[in-house]
Symmetry: C2
Subunit: 346 residues, 2 copies
Amino acid sequence: MDTRRPHPRPTMVDVAKIAGVSFKTVSRVVNGVATVDPVLADRVREAAAEIGYRPNQMAAALKSGSTTAMIGLVIKDVSNEFYAAITQGTSEVATERGVQLITACSPEEEVSEDAELATIFELCRRRADGLIVVPHSPDQSSLAREVAMGTPMVFVDRAPRGLAADSVVLDNARGAALAIHHLADQGHERIGMVFDSLAITAMQQRLDGARQQLRQLSLTTEHGLCRTGVHGPEASARAVAELLDRPDPPSAIFCGNNRATIGAVEEIWNRGADVAIAGFDDFRLAHLMPLPLTLVSYDATALGREAARLLFARIDGDTGPPRDLVLPVTLRQSGIRPLPPSQEER
Amino acid sequence: MDTRRPHPRPTMVDVAKIAGVSFKTVSRVVNGVATVDPVLADRVREAAAEIGYRPNQMAAALKSGSTTAMIGLVIKDVSNEFYAAITQGTSEVATERGVQLITACSPEEEVSEDAELATIFELCRRRADGLIVVPHSPDQSSLAREVAMGTPMVFVDRAPRGLAADSVVLDNARGAALAIHHLADQGHERIGMVFDSLAITAMQQRLDGARQQLRQLSLTTEHGLCRTGVHGPEASARAVAELLDRPDPPSAIFCGNNRATIGAVEEIWNRGADVAIAGFDDFRLAHLMPLPLTLVSYDATALGREAARLLFARIDGDTGPPRDLVLPVTLRQSGIRPLPPSQEER
DNA sequence: ATGAAAGCGCTAACAG
DNA sequence: CTGTTAGCGCTTTCAT
């Protein structure tokens, strides 16, 4: 492979030659050190502009103890609204600090534990100043050494296991409880539930929160009304169909995440059934869904933002005990009423 | 700032010391050079694993002519479905090549030309092997030097101006023409139009395509029926309201992008008006919109994927003339009928 | 205020 | 097959 560049990038030495100074003076000017003769500084800047000099950030970062001014973000899939929001939040804070974001997403549906580890190690090889990880592996203990060696990590949406590190998560149990409570308030006594895999901590917490609230309200928690391991809208639509086809169908459905909610909307709309829907996660266009929806809403961007803040605190030397931030959730009414012009409440 | 790391990252020398070899042998093992005594190689690997050695990729990339194995992606806002898809496509191809993606998004609504340039230069300073840019500035001529110095760039959604570089764009004019043609087929003779700022090339092309098709069909192109500079769903809803409040309202609306389409859906649904909607851009959940929709659809992920392919070809030394890839668009019916159980066509 | 020399962690000639 | 010697582009002592 011919790796010669047409016009190789100029270095400080090239600039120095043109400006007629030593390359150290160039370094000073580039770094904005004040103790440089203004005349020389101008000459250097001129020379730099003339040949299009761009300081090599990677070379600068090589000096030990210095920073690469990059942080890594390990997520599953940016095209997912939830991860995109996290990315956005992280990116905002990083940009404020002049830090670049390396986004490493694993496109595969099922991220293997090894793949996730490999991605994280790769980011360590690049000497990212820190990592924000939305973990999918059950255990993070193998990362302890990387953290100890100076790559702080913050975990999002799921606290780390086997590793003392910061995390930012949602108040999952409470959100689910709120939703169940609301449905019960509406008079529903048989509530069906649809959850993604319980291997996802958040999902387990939501299920727990919902179950506890059901018990507290003395409503049924029979197993037949609860589907788990439901992945994606299509699977959710099928699960909802099965629930509604039971001899004793639920009159309301609680969905563990937005994809499940969407599947439920599809199925219930297609049947024209009168079944109330509540779901965890808000989503864009929820307000235009053809059915009324009760959603557990929260600021997904804040997950990324807060994670970034925690991370930068660590990068800046904070050595306090791990912090677990729990972001609040609220209940929100969404969706539209089936008949456009009439504005009456249900 | 105390930048000491608790346990500084070990280097090749550290590994070499433990394995009792020269650090060059470590280098060979790490790089998988075959000509190493298997016994020594094993000892090196063992030592490396023992102390958690991670080769410093940045130091390796310092050697002239080598690559950083990172490419930059310059977009406006990942939380936008369109950009997220581009990111996803780019990421997939990059991952295949073992290349990391630096995502640089400008969170501001109005990205200044300078900010965009600064972002690109920053990525050059980091010596990204190449850049994928969704440009918002009107002119790219100031990037010529960076390209000449070895940072190839591929532009997405908009061809570069003042710079000979590859681009991947949509067949905007054709998509708009298709949509107009379809509306005309449905019997609509007065078609209103809502576009975002025409400074966005794609928007101008869509308008041009629509206008030409209208003329070809001998339909009205009166200025009062066409709104431009409409940014976001709310503005679009207002624009649509104005169009519908005219003494001679259109019976159909064509929207220049998905955000405009969403605004139109909101407004038309709220009024319960019988107005047909067509729009550029497909979007998730379009199939659950409460009104029938005709959408100009395309594979947004492919934009990123093809851009990445072009970029890697350049990185691999392709010096052919710039290529402009035009990705096809198709018309798709979406949305649902207002009354759930009845399946009759309109 | 400026420059010379050393070294960051690694790769790439060259020797041994 | 292995080790030595130079750099890569920059920052950081330490002199001048």
